[in-house]
Amino acid sequence: MYPDELALHDDKSAVSQRGALERAGSRVDLTFEELFERYSSMVFSLVYQILGDREEALDVSQDVFFTIYRKIGSFRGESSIKTWIYRIAVHRAANRCRWWSRLRRRGTVSLEEHLSRNSEGDIYRSLRSDAQSPEDALLIQEEHREVERMLLQLPLQQRVAVIMKDIEGLSYEEIAEAMQISLGTVKSRIARGREVLKRNFREAMS
């Protein structure tokens, strides 16, 4: 599926990364490789939940890690590296989301339309092992899609806050730092987001 040239040029890229890694190492004590190893699924998952599209998430995740690679030298350690990475990821994903909604306002296309056109059946979520049979697995997958669709209906800021709290399991303080908003705003966004979801779930049930 992916062409050969994307297969790694290990020696060269290792050399080119070392400079940044050494700079990063002084404050972060992790090489870029290690950072990627540790946080790639966190970034990808968060971005995917925010945007609801796999290809978009891949694209934005690349941007996020490229930004990390470039800016790690200026990371001052005033927040944890985790929230710093979350901040970059949230910022990038939100920008992409706004880009889509700008297009929608211009009457060209909406993210939802784009998704329904491009990523039908494109969910690679690893199912939990509590699926007993293929039928169970299918049901769980259906349930996940339903929840994802509901999530995408939330306003962007509420969606991000709810995802970080309920899926990523971050603390209020971490979310405030990652989204660069006050603790009070975090609380109200989460509460309002959950409220909307609760209502929508109920409507879907009845």
């Binding site: 994307l6 790694l8 080119s16 966190m42 939990r128 769980i140 996940h144 929840v147």
Partner: protein, 256 residues
């Protein structure tokens, strides 16, 4: 505690971030109030369903994509990077339906802009009938100067016959000029000398006849001649030369 006070705090109560005292109050209220209990259960079900989504695994090749991007970007010059960035964004826009119309509209606008630029570059200068004369960079007493210069050339010392208030607002936007031929100190039969008023559309009207031809019949022809004359500011390479007027007279036949 009242429901109105409890309900907005349920989300924080669920996350266990309330101060102990408030938390105890809420928990007591939940023990008594079915409605709030139901809302709280709704919240925890929302949380459960969201939590069940758990993390989506990043595809293994994300690593390759990132390294490829880093390697490429580090290698390329900023110019290449900028161009690629623009191309990437543009290709994204181009693939969207509807953008076609935007592109087409943009093309139309550019084409008409180009047309306007080209035509304004190649067409000669036209006098704007409605524009004040100052817009053409004529000095305020331009018409006076033209008249005086013309009269000097024609050998007439002054406008003795009639005093005209040159700076009068009503006539300051008019050009005055002397029109005539072969004016000599000893007038012949067909000599005439006149001050014409040329309005901004370039048509001339006789303002004041300074010297009549001896032949009265010539006066009619003379009228015809003066009204067929057109005046315009002289121009060179499309630039107006404010110190010169050009007079264009179509050939007229004089029949007796």
């Amino acid at each position: 505690m009242l429901c109105e006070k409890a309900l907005p705090l349920l989300s924080e109560y669920f996350d266990d971030v309330l101060d102990p005292q408030t938390a105890i109050q809420i928990s007591q209220h939940l023990g008594q109030c079915i409605r709030c209990r139901r809302e709280f259960d709704g919240l925890s079900s929302v949380h459960k369903r969201l939590q069940a989504l758990h993390r989506v695994a990043a595809p293994a090749y994300l690593n390759s994509l990132v390294r490829h991007k880093i390697e490429k970007r580090t290698r390329d010059s900023w110019r290449v990077r900028l161009r690629e960035d623009i191309e990437r964004r543009w290709s994204k826009i181009r693939t969207l339906e509807g953008m076609w119309y935007v592109t087409r509209a943009l093309g139309t606008v550019m084409a008409s802009l180009f047309f306007v630029l080209i035509t304004s570059a190649i067409t000669p200068y036209y006098m704007n009938v409605n524009a004040p004369v100052r817009d053409l960079n004529f000095p305020p007493d331009y018409s006076h100067q033209v008249a005086v210069n013309l009269m000097k050339k024609l050998g007439i010392p002054t406008l003795a016959q009639r005093q005209i208030a040159w700076r009068d607002a009503a006539i300051s936007d008019l050009y005055f000029s002397q029109f005539g031929e072969a004016i000599s100190s000893t007038p012949k039969d067909d000599d005439f000398s006149v001050v014409t008023r040329i309005d901004r559309s370039g048509s001339a009207q006789i303002q004041n006849v300074l010297q009549y031809p001896a032949d009265e019949n010539l006066l009619n022809n003379f009228n015809a001649m003066i009204t067929t004359a057109r005046w315009r500011p002289a121009s060179r390479n499309g630039q107006v030369i404010s110190s010169h007027l050009v007079c264009m007279v179509s050939k007229i036949s004089v029949d007796n």
